[in-house]
C-alpha cells in the first residue's frame, strides 16, 4: 500500500512540475529559435539550431540594456523606499494605540480595491501640473505609494509576533526606544522584511500602465513598456518579445530564489494563529 501511495504522490508531484514548467520552457525555446522556425508548422519543440539571434537583435536594435538598468534602479529604489517607510509605520501600528488605528487599517485595506488604472488620469494631470512627468523619480514615488498599504499591513503583522517584553528588557538595560527597535526587533523581523522587499520588487519590476503614461523619453523607459512596444500594428514580434521576456524574468527569479523561504515565513507570519 505504502509503495503505491508513494508512487501516486510522485506522479502527482511530477504533473504539477510539468504544468508549471511548460510555459517557461516554451518561451525559452522560442527565444533561441531561428526566426524562420518560430512561425512554422509542424511545430518544432526542439530547435534544430540554437540561435541567439533574438537576443542579439534585442540588445542591438533596441536599448534593452538601458531599459534593464532603468527598471533595476526604479524597482530597487521603490522597494527599499517602501520598506523603509512602512517599517516605521508598521512598527507604530503594532506598538502604539491610537484612536483611529482600526479606521486607518481598514482604509489601507480599501485602497487595494481601487484599480490603479482608475486613478491614472487624475494622477497624470496632477504630475503634469507639478512638472513631474517624464522623470524616473516620479515613477519611484508612485510605486512606493502603491506598495505602502499592503507592506504596512504585512509589517504590522510581523511586529505583532515579536513580544514587547524583548524591547522592554532592552530598555531596562539602558537602550532608547529607537535603539531597541534597531538592535533587537529588526533583526528578528528580517524574514518578514525580506518578504516585503521581494513582494515590492516583483510588483514594481512588472508594472506597466503607469510606466507607459508617465515616462516619455526612450532612454528612461522600463522593461514592461519596452516589451509592450514590441507589439505593433501587425502583431507581436515573437523573436525579440520572447528574448525580452526571458531576460526580464531573471532578476525576479533571482530575488525569488533567495527570498523564497523568507517570503513563505513572512507571508504567513501574521496569518497563522497559535
Amino acid at each position: 500500500m505504502k509503495i503505491i501511495e508513494k508512487f501516486m504522490k510522485f506522479i502527482a508531484l511530477m504533473l504539477y512540475l510539468i504544468l508549471a514548467i511548460i510555459p517557461l520552457y516554451w518561451i525559452i525555446i522560442t527565444s533561441v529559435k531561428d526566426i524562420k522556425e518560430v512561425f512554422v508548422f509542424p511545430i518544432k519543440y526542439l530547435p534544430q539550431v540554437i540561435s541567439f539571434e533574438s537576443y542579439r537583435s534585442l540588445f542591438a536594435f533596441t536599448n534593452f540594456a538601458i531599459y534593464f538598468r532603468n527598471s533595476l534602479m526604479v524597482a530597487l529604489t521603490a522597494s527599499f523606499g517602501a520598506l523603509f517607510i512602512t517599517m516605521f509605520s508598521g512598527y507604530a501600528m503594532s506598538r502604539y494605540g491610537f484612536k483611529f488605528k482600526r479606521n486607518i487599517l481598514i482604509s489601507l485595506f480599501f485602497t487595494q480595491a481601487i484599480p490603479s488604472f482608475l486613478v491614472l488620469v487624475p494622477l497624470y494631470t496632477m504630475f503634469a501640473k507639478a512638472g513631474m512627468l517624464d522623470k524616473l523619480p516620479s515613477l519611484m514615488i508612485l510605486y512606493i505609494n502603491i506598495m505602502i498599504p499592503f507592506s504596512m499591513i504585512m509589517a504590522k503583522s510581523f511586529f505583532d509576533r515579536i513580544p514587547i517584553s524583548l524591547e522592554e528588557a532592552a530598555q531596562v538595560d539602558g537602550c532608547s526606544r529607537l535603539q531597541a527597535l534597531f538592535k533587537i526587533v529588526l533583526p528578528l523581523t528580517l524574514p518578514g522584511l525580506s518578504a516585503i522587499f521581494s513582494f515590492c520588487f516583483i510588483n514594481t519590476w512588472n508594472e506597466l500602465f503607469l510606466a507607459v503614461m508617465f515616462i516619455n523619453s526612450d532612454l528612461k523607459m522600463t522593461i514592461p513598456v519596452a516589451l509592450n512596444s514590441f507589439i505593433s500594428k501587425i502583431g507581436v514580434g515573437w523573436d525579440i518579445m520572447s528574448a525580452g521576456i526571458v531576460i526580464s524574468l531573471i532578476p525576479t527569479l533571482i530575488i525569488y530564489a533567495f527570498a523564497q523561504r523568507y517570503i513563505v515565513a513572512g507571508l504567513t507570519g501574521g496569518a497563522v494563529k497559535g
Binding site: A20, N206, V264
Partner: protein, 296 residues
C-alpha cells in the same frame, strides 16, 4: 511604554505613509469619483460638465458591450479561478507537506509563476493558445482529443475559459505557498490522537487540517478575490476582452473605455462600480467571519 507620548510618536512614524496614500491614492480617487458623473471624453474636452448618472446608464445599456455579460464573465472569472487555484494549491501544499529529497529545488521550480508579471504570462499563454502555431492545439491534436485547430482566443465559446485557465496556473503558487506554511504549523499531536481513533486520510483532512488552518484560508481568499477582480493585465494581453465581449470583465472594460474610446467618464463609472461591488463583498465577508479570525 509611556502613555503620554504615544500619539505623537505614532503620528510621526505613520505620517509619511498616510500622506503618501492620501495624496497619491485618495485624492486622485476622489477626482475619478467626480469624473464618473461628468462627460469627460477626450473627443471633446471643451464642454465637460456634470451629467448625473448618464455614464452609468450608458454602461448598463451598452449595446456592444452587454453589461450583464460582463458581470457574468467577472463573476465566473473570480469564482472559477479562485476555486481551482485554491483546490489545486491546497493539493500541491498537501503533497509537499512531508519533506522529501530535493523539495527545496522543487518548490523553487513549481512556485516561480508567482514572480512573473500578469502581462508577460498573458502573452506567453496567448502564444501557447495560438490558433495556428500554439502548442496547446498541437498537443491536443496529437493525443487525439481534437481534430482541428481551435481558436482558443478568437472563438467566443472558448475565450473566457482560456483566460481562466491561464489565471488558475498563475494563482496556484500563491495558495500553495500560503497553505503549505499553514499546514506545517498544525500540531502533530492532533493527528496522532485522530489516528488512534482510526481516522482515515480524508477524515483527518476535513476534520482536523482544514479547520485548523481556517484563518489562513479566510485571509488568503479575501485578499485573492480582491486581487483577481482587479486583475486586468492578463486578459488585456491575451484577448483584450474579446472577441465580442466574450472574455470581458469589469476591469478590462474600464481600460477598454479609456484607452480605445477615450471616454474617461464612462471608464470612471465602471471603476466606481468595481469598488462598490468589492466593498459590498468585503462587508458581507467581514460580517460572516468574526473579527478575531482576521489577522488584524
Amino acid at each position: 511604554m509611556k502613555k503620554n507620548d504615544n500619539s505623537k510618536i505614532f503620528l510621526i512614524m505613520v505620517l509619511p505613509s498616510l500622506i503618501s496614500v492620501i495624496l497619491l491614492t485618495f485624492v486622485p480617487f476622489l477626482s475619478s469619483f467626480f469624473i464618473a458623473f461628468q462627460n469627460y471624453n477626450f473627443h471633446d474636452l471643451s464642454n465637460i460638465h456634470f451629467i448625473g448618472f448618464e455614464n452609468f446608464q450608458a454602461v448598463f445599456n451598452d449595446v456592444n458591450f452587454n453589461f450583464l455579460r460582463i458581470l457574468l464573465n467577472t463573476f465566473l472569472w473570480v469564482i472559477v479561478s479562485l476555486f481551482f487555484q485554491f483546490v489545486l494549491g491546497l493539493g500541491l501544499a498537501l503533497l509537499m507537506k512531508k519533506p522529501f529529497k530535493g523539495r527545496g529545488i522543487y518548490s523553487g521550480l513549481v512556485f516561480y509563476p508567482w514572480a512573473l508579471s500578469g502581462f508577460a504570462i498573458g502573452l506567453i499563454w496567448a502564444w501557447m493558445f495560438n490558433g495556428q502555431f500554439g502548442i496547446i492545439n498541437d498537443i491536443l491534436q496529437k493525443i487525439g482529443l481534437i481534430h482541428q485547430n481551435i481558436g482558443f482566443l478568437s472563438d467566443t465559446r472558448y475565450s473566457l475559459m482560456s483566460v481562466i485557465i491561464a489565471n488558475i496556473w498563475y494563482g496556484i503558487p500563491f495558495f500553495a505557498i500560503m497553505l503549505l506554511a499553514a499546514l506545517q504549523s498544525v500540531p502533530l499531536e492532533l493527528y496522532e490522537a485522530a489516528e488512534i481513533d482510526g481516522a482515515g486520510y480524508f477524515i483527518k483532512l476535513f476534520k482536523i487540517t482544514i479547520p485548523y488552518i481556517k484563518p489562513v484560508i479566510i485571509n488568503t481568499v479575501l485578499l485573492r478575490t480582491i486581487w483577481i477582480i482587479n486583475f486586468p493585465e492578463m486578459i488585456y494581453a491575451m484577448t483584450g476582452g474579446g472577441p465580442a465581449n466574450s472574455s470581458n470583465i469589469l476591469s478590462v472594460q474600464m481600460i477598454n473605455k479609456i484607452i480605445n474610446f477615450l471616454d474617461f467618464g464612462e471608464g470612471a463609472a465602471i471603476g466606481i462600480m468595481i469598488i462598490i461591488i468589492m466593498s459590498i463583498y468585503i462587508i458581507i465577508y467581514l460580517k460572516i467571519i468574526s473579527r478575531e479570525e482576521l489577522a488584524f
